[in-house]
Amino acid sequence: MITLLFFLSSGLFLGWSLGANDAANIFGTAVGSRMVKFKQAALIGSIFVILGAVIQGAGANATLGKLGSVSTLAAAFTVALSAAATVYWMTRLKLPVSTSQAIVGAIIGWNLYTNNQTDLHTLTKIVTTWISGPVLGGIFAALLYLLTQKILKRVRFHLFYRDLSIRLGLIIIGGFGAYSLGANNIANVMGVFTTAVQFPDIHIGFITLSSTQQLFAIGGFAIAIGIITYSKRVMETVGNTLMPLTSEAALVVVLSQAIVLFIFSSQSLSNALVSIGLPPIPLVPVSSSQIVIGSIIGIGLLKGGKQIKYKVLGQISVGWVATPVMAGIVAFFMLFFIHNVFKQNVGFTSDAQRGQVTHQSVSDSVNHIEKVGSFPKNKLEQSEQNSSVQSSFSYGWMISLLLVVVLIGVVYYFRMREKRQKALGKEKVDELENFIALKAKSLEQEMESYKAEQQTLDKELKYRQNEMVNMAMNIIRKYEIVGQIKEDINRIKKEIHDAEARQALNKVASRFSFSVMPE
């Protein structure tokens, strides 16, 4: 049991990370905008993700099985771990990533390593859905948005009732979205284990849970734990930054995403289409994040397309190539490691296994030839067979090396671009800082010169004030002296009786009275 749990752990980790990240595509806006409480969202999301996985997860899983039926537990563990490591690594590198694309790449990596044929028809079908998923999301979103707008214009809701109905819609559609996410994406989490792990059927009343459904239930729980433990932070980020949408638009985005995920996972819908003579729907795990982006772009185009960041489309396209290639390479090397270091059976096909056996027998025969000096016929045939297997291996190695080089190139390009952008940003910041410093310095100098000028003016003002005070004091003093002289003249005038002298004194006195300041 512990061994089984250990091998399942990589799938469970993948499930946890899916729950932590992709639940935000469903409840992100609702929780981020505080329309729905996180506890409510987590509870509804967890329940419906498990239900979707158990009830409807088989369809998409069958397609992944056609791409590569990973036959041993060790191989399944490695493939899931490779996908998880790729998702983690690419997220760290800030590259666009999808679990669905990572698992497909990892399965192809397993096919390459174990010399299994990759079904090109299935691969084409899968790749087509990666493109058609976001496109369909955009179309549905645009149509639903138009419909919602028409309904809201016709029905005169009170703002508070409108809020209530949107809230209810976000919860119900969120439940549907979680169900569809579980149905469509559980194959990413547990799909690789379905061949390797076989449980006995469980009967609960009328319900019978097959081995695959039990595995999917376990995977569903892992997703639920991801939602409960870690999605809150992601939801709050998504709700506030990545999708600045109105509540109505958010509702439409979640609904279109849920519909697309449901379409690509519903066996009954596919059967219904076949029954009326239409082609079946490819049941394939698709990236919920990319459908959300497609939906937002759909609404954006409907509104005139001015606010759309077309760079995101380019990033998705890079993700379509980079994620599976990287996951494939990681899976290839990890399988090599698990196979050769831990000596685990990673599910070679009979030819390849034979190749390994003959490889051993060839070395035996070489020893034998050295000993007896002859070349037996059957040994020669075996060595020819062995050489063909070896050449197929070396061919695989060459492709892998080429892919590694391409991948390193892609990663290097992105890292360099990021560095360049950072350097450019730093340069600009430095330039701005220098400019500010210079400006501050010139302002300081200007201030200093103003201060000096002000000081000079202050001094001059003080000097002038003193001068004025002195002048005023002088005038007052002169006025006092003149007053005293006038008084003296008057006194003398009273004492002198000579008319001429008195007249002369009067004349002098009149002069003084003329020069005296007004009273």
Partner: protein, 216 residues
């Protein structure tokens, strides 16, 4: 979910009650000023008591609406806008009450020749406020139609400005028998009455911007 539905229903009723309380308050204000101008002291005192009571009810409802908006996280993205709008509505009844208090406390002497001017000013100022309340109700149901309803508010506000100016001009140009202190006193009373229409205009501006925002 039924609890949430009940909460929303209660909130809708509370908002309607709040608006009708403020509307009543504004009408009481008009009556009160008329009583003062016609020297009907008893009814004037009665109306002061009425407006006090209505203002207290409006305040209580305002607090309740604010609390419930946040407590039940109703319209979480626009809760602050709704709160601001409710506050602006409440400012109208606050201004009406304050204005009536001023009449009661300062007992301005209003010359007989100005009584009709003051009555006309009160009419127009209260009309501006009365025109903004239906727009608030419509804002909650059909934000697209709000803008068309605000024309009346702007018209009455301009009219009250004009009347207030004409009273001031009369006071300072034609009435030499009044003391300067009396003129200044009466000028302030024209201003107090005009405040009601100013507050209505502020609310109308707010509604006009937010109606667009809610339609986006």
């Amino acid at each position: 979910m039924s609890i949430l539905f009940r909460n929303v229903k209660e909130l809708v009723l509370e908002v309607d009650e709040f608006l009708s309380t403020v509307e009543q308050g504004v009408l009481i204000f008009k009556q009160g000023v008329y009583n003062y101008l016609d020297k009907e002291e008893e009814t004037f005192v009665e109306n002061i008591k009425n407006i006090e009571r209505l203002e207290a009810v409006a305040d209580k409802l305002q607090r309740k609406i604010d609390r419930e908006l946040y407590l039940h996280s109703i319209l979480p993205q626009h809760a602050s806008d709704i709160e601001e709008m409710v506050d602006k509505v409440d400012e109208i009844i606050d201004a009406a009450k304050e204005s009536l208090y001023e009449f009661d406390v300062e007992i301005p002497y209003i010359p007989e020749v100005l009584v009709n001017d003051y009555k006309r000013l009160v009419d127009v100022s209260v009309e501006a406020a009365a025109a903004v309340f239906p727009a608030v109700t419509t804002f909650f149901r059909e934000p697209t139609k709000v803008k068309g309803m605000l024309t009346k508010v702007y018209f009455y506000e301009k009219e009250s400005d004009r009347l207030s100016r004409s009273i001031k001009r009369k006071l300072f140009h034609d009435m030499d028998d009044l003391k300067l202190s009396q003129k200044i006193h009466l000028r302030y009373f024209a201003l107090h009455i005009e405040t009601i229409s100013d507050k209505a205009e502020l609310l109308a501006d707010f509604l006009s911007i937010n109606a667009l925002k809610f339609n986006l």
